[in-house]
């Protein structure tokens, strides 16, 4: 399968890339790892007259601590997250997530920024970033702005990014001591989108109660879903089996998946509940070890 004809641009600086986006407006798309965009173009489900490849712009691939947050360059590849010691040490939820995105070959090209900017609720990073309460940095012709993750996903394949903006960075507040996270995904086979998946990030008090929790679901609606009721329910409670079960029930109830070949609505909701139980248990265990 061959994409419809388009022109390809390989800017060497961010300014050049922004100028190309400004020049071509809605006719241009940003090419990052290409692992979602190129398959869509080959199937002719999507396309653009101009592709602006940001792969030759230096300085967009990094994972570092700065100003109390962990900063990930928008073009950082999933395989880098998977291997990053900093990510494993500070944000095991992200290490879990990166390891189950597509397959290892795709992860050598796929990027974190692309996974978010594509706006696909079936992608795995959106729920993880909701649980982590991340911020997205967008760079446009008038400079940069920071978008809270809760305002980023506005619809199916639609984000708060303007046509002239590039997702350049993701900022994640560094979790305090006694924090842990986990991602649990049910997939029919390696490389499939999630039938259901749950992302959890918790911080415990010195007394072992849940101080705060971030819980979000993948592929459970037109946008990634924050299980806000479950988060509120857990805050201040000891993480007993009963409390975990009730929080997971609330998370399952927040899921609004659609039926497809991966299963019926009832099945997917039930899986969202079960995976939330598992993710909560693992996140709490990890928080106790930190």
């Amino acid at each position: 399968m061959i994409p419809a004809a388009f022109d390809y641009h390989a800017p060497r600086t961010l300014d050049e890339a922004l100028a190309l986006l400004a020049e071509h407006g809605e006719d241009a798309k940003v090419l990052s790892g290409g692992q979602s965009l190129l398959p869509l173009m080959k199937l002719r489900l999507g396309g653009a007259a101009h592709l602006v490849d940001i792969g030759r712009i230096p300085g967009l691939e990094y994972v570092r601590e700065e100003g109390g947050s962990l900063r990930i360059g928008g073009r950082t590849r999933e395989s880098e997250l998977e291997r990053s010691e900093l990510i494993h040490a500070k944000l095991p939820l992200l290490a879990d997530t990166a390891a189950v995105i597509a397959d290892p070959l795709v992860r050598n090209l796929a990027t974190v920024g692309g996974n978010l900017a594509h706006g696909d609720p079936a992608n795995d990073h959106p729920a993880a970033m909701l649980a982590l309460r991340a911020e997205v940095v967008a760079t446009g012709p008038r400079g940069t702005r920071t978008i809270p993750i809760d305002e980023f996903f506005v619809g199916l394949f639609a984000t708060a990014l303007d046509a002239g903006e590039i997702l350049t960075e993701i900022r994640i507040p560094l979790p305090p001591p006694r924090s842990g996270g986990a991602y649990e995904k049910l997939e029919r086979k390696v490389g499939d989108f999630a039938t259901a998946a749950a992302a959890v990030q918790v911080t415990l008090t010195s007394g072992g109660a849940v101080e705060k929790a971030g819980i979000a679901l993948t592929n459970a609606g037109p946008t990634p879903v924050r299980a806000a009721e479950a988060e509120r329910y857990l805050a201040g409670k000891q993480p007993s089996d009963e409390a975990i079960a009730e929080a997971a029930r609330l998370a399952g109830a927040a899921a609004a998946p659609s039926a497809d070949r991966r299963g019926k609505v009832e099945y997917k909701r039930e899986m969202a509940r079960v995976l939330t139980v598992r993710a909560l248990r693992r996140a709490i265990q990890r928080a106790k070890e930190h």
């Binding site: 022109d7 390809y8 190129l38 080959k42 490849d53 290892p104 795709v106 050598n108 090209l109």
Partner: protein, 163 residues
């Protein structure tokens, strides 16, 4: 139609061509450079038959544009054999019967090669994880795993003998 001059190092030799923006890397390799060892399988980023190394990393060449490879290094299955001698990863597939129909084999070899470059002594779980983006519909993977282990053991043997 937009055309671009590209230079790609393939098995260490610089190759130049003028290509359309939309030409996929796998078509560039097979049709422009006549390197037909790289197979097109599903053509939808699932099967891994088209796996090649791009700057040393295994990737699915049906999901990379040839223009993205401009100025970069590509290695295909044709780059494994040296001076008429099979590479140990190829010998492993030969010895352990790591293929039946052979369709997935070029991709399996490139993924196996890249794994051993990064991790000379992988566990069975690590091998299975590494090849999880390469589909084989014949073997059930048992002999493919053995083939990669055979190559790892042969390399270890050589290191020991050399030491």
């Amino acid at each position: 139609m937009a055309r671009h001059k590209i230079k790609v190092k393939v098995q260490g030799t610089e190759r130049e061509a003028e290509v359309e923006s939309r030409l996929l890397l796998v078509h560039f390799l097979r049709e422009v450079l006549s390197l037909t060892g790289t197979h097109i399988g599903c053509d939808t980023t699932h099967c891994g038959a088209c796996t090649v190394l791009l700057d040393g990393q295994p990737v699915k060449s049906c999901t990379v544009l040839a223009v993205q490879a401009d100025g970069r290094e590509v290695m295909t299955v044709e780059g494994l054999e040296q001076d008429g001698k099979l590479h140990p990863i190829q010998d492993g597939f030969w010895q352990e019967h790591g293929l039946q129909c052979g369709y997935c084999t070029p991709g399996m070899l490139m993924t196996g090669y890249a794994l051993l470059e990064r991790n000379a002594d992988p566990s069975e779980a690590e091998i299975r994880q590494a090849i999880s983006g390469n589909l084989c519909r014949c073997t059930g993977y048992v002999n493919i795993v053995k083939a990669v282990q055979h190559a790892a053991a042969a390399a270890k043997q050589r290191r020991t003998t050399a030491a």
